[in-house]
């Protein structure tokens, strides 16, 4: 049972450019998605996520074109999301070259979307993305790019998503996102121990130690980060060598 822990760079895309922000606001340009994809494919990323942060209808064709360009560079799995509101939207994203879709706000609004897409494309193609923020003692699910509370508790929503057919959970700590202070280990461990599917941790990564911690105490199956990879602060190969030295199973590219 030597399933490798996955390192997943995330491209937040606005149209045809990669952008980055701190705590979901203050976006800056961070490069061409296809160029970054080619680099990560080469450096040993285990998967790539592309999220359409604008998620507006009129810019959909641009996003689909971006998925096509990114997919052309990859020999690893590609997950794409942002603004997927129907099985039809999901189909167009998968046809453009993605292997999996992420569902977020639209799944909260209409949870049947999870089962519809899971039945049509298989559970392995459906990732439920949960953005969450801590209020008091609870992790509350946030929607619309983190601007609104969904009045749902994150673990309960993760369980419901899996029951409806999600094959993976991508959990983002909005408290940590962009802070570079480390993943939210307690949050990720809570979600991971409550669901039967793989969990991807997101938000707050900077140091190799943060990754080691999320794979051990945080019980994450995969860890996602954006700017530390884009900026070259943390080369993926070095990160994996660090993790391997700690006894964490990772795929070391040849």
């Amino acid at each position: 049972m030597s399933l490798a822990r996955r390192i997943i760079p995330c491209l937040d895309v606005d149209g045809d450019r990669v952008v980055k922000g701190v705590n979901f606001v203050g976006l800056r340009d961070a490069g061409d998605p296809a160029q970054l994809a080619a680099r990560y494919n080469q450096e040993g990323a285990d998967e790539l996520v592309v999220l359409d942060i604008a998620a507006s209808r009129d810019r959909r064709p641009t996003f689909l074109a971006t998925i096509r360009r990114v997919a052309a560079e990859l020999a690893i799995p590609l997950t794409a999301g942002g603004g997927i509101r129907s099985a039809e939207d999901a189909r167009s994203v998968l046809r453009a070259g993605a292997d999996k879709i992420t569902l977020n706000t639209a799944a909260v609004a209409r949870p049947e979307l999870i089962s519809e897409t899971s039945l049509e494309f298989g559970a392995q193609a459906v990732v439920l993305a949960i953005d969450t923020k801590r209020f008091g003692g609870q992790w509350v699910v946030m929607v619309r790019g983190g601007r609104e509370s969904a009045n749902l508790e994150a673990s309960a929503w993760a369980r419901e998503g899996v029951a409806r057919g999600a094959g993976e959970i991508l959990v983002t700590s909005m408290d940590r996102d962009g802070t570079k202070s480390g993943f939210d280990t307690a949050l990720t461990a809570a979600i991971s121990s409550t669901v039967s599917v793989p969990v991807i941790a997101s938000g707050g990564a900077k140091l190799p130690d943060h990754f080691a911690e999320i794979f051990t105490a945080g019980r994450a199956d995969a860890a996602l980060a954006a700017s530390i990879f884009h900026d070259g602060i943390q080369p993926i190969r070095e990160l994996k060598e660090f993790l391997a030295a700690r006894g964490i199973p990772v795929r070391l590219p040849c």
């Binding site: 049972m1 030597s2 399933l3 285990d46 020999a75 690893i76 392995q124 793989p198 995969a222």
Partner: protein, 201 residues
């Protein structure tokens, strides 16, 4: 050798096409049963539900020409569901018959670990393999499935262990299949596809 892809609308056929293109192989998507019958080499990709794959295969009347071509010695590679389809059937869709080119059934992976089995895993070699020749024993391959061929046969050349062993690579004369996705498995996956192309050349 031109590869004829059986595009059944399940899974990411474009990624298989790109992987073949990177290796300099020519490929086309089958359009009719005749395309399947006259193929120089066949590739059946697929991820998702066993039922979708078998239903579309039958709707398009590809079952008979596919089985005949494999029987005639046409090089064949099945990927993921394309491996599972070779068996008698699958517990994922108990009422549907598989291609029945191999005995036994496809079963659900035991729920002792997280499912789907999704991510990069290693293989345990059981026999000398044509597809895996020259590949590091500790190479990782990308899997995404919840069902698998649990029972091993003469044709099993490598297994994967995830809460128990299942068939990861099988080779029976011209018929080869892998449970992982070589088109998504980086450099190691490219080598598997290259080995398949060499076999048909």
């Amino acid at each position: 050798m031109k590869i004829t892809l059986l595009d059944l609308g399940v899974g990411n056929v474009a990624s298989v096409e790109r992987a073949l293109e990177r290796l300099g192989a020519e490929s086309e998507r089958a359009a009719t049963p005749e395309c399947v019958a006259n193929a120089e080499a066949l590739l059946l990709p697929g991820v998702g539900h066993f039922e979708s794959l078998i239903r579309v295969l039958d709707e398009r009347k590809w079952r008979a020409p596919l089985c005949e071509a494999i029987g005639r010695g046409v090089p064949f590679l099945g990927i993921c569901l394309g491996l599972q389809a070779l068996y008698g059937g699958s517990d994922e869709a108990p009422d549907l018959a598989g291609l029945q080119l191999l005995p036994g059934r496809v079963r659900a992976l035991p729920p002792v670990a997280k499912l789907p089995h999704m991510g990069w895993n290693r293989l345990v070699m059981k026999k000398k393999s044509r597809l895996l020749g020259g590949i590091d024993a500790d190479a990782y391959f990308y899997f995404a499935h919840s069902y698998a061929a649990i029972e091993q046969g003469q044709e099993t050349v490598a297994v994967c262990d995830y809460g128990g062993e299942f068939v990861a690579v099988l080779e029976k004369e011209n018929m080869c299949a892998v449970q992982f996705h070589p088109e998504k498995s980086g450099e190691a996956g490219g080598r598997v596809l290259r080995a398949f192309l060499r076999q048909g050349a």
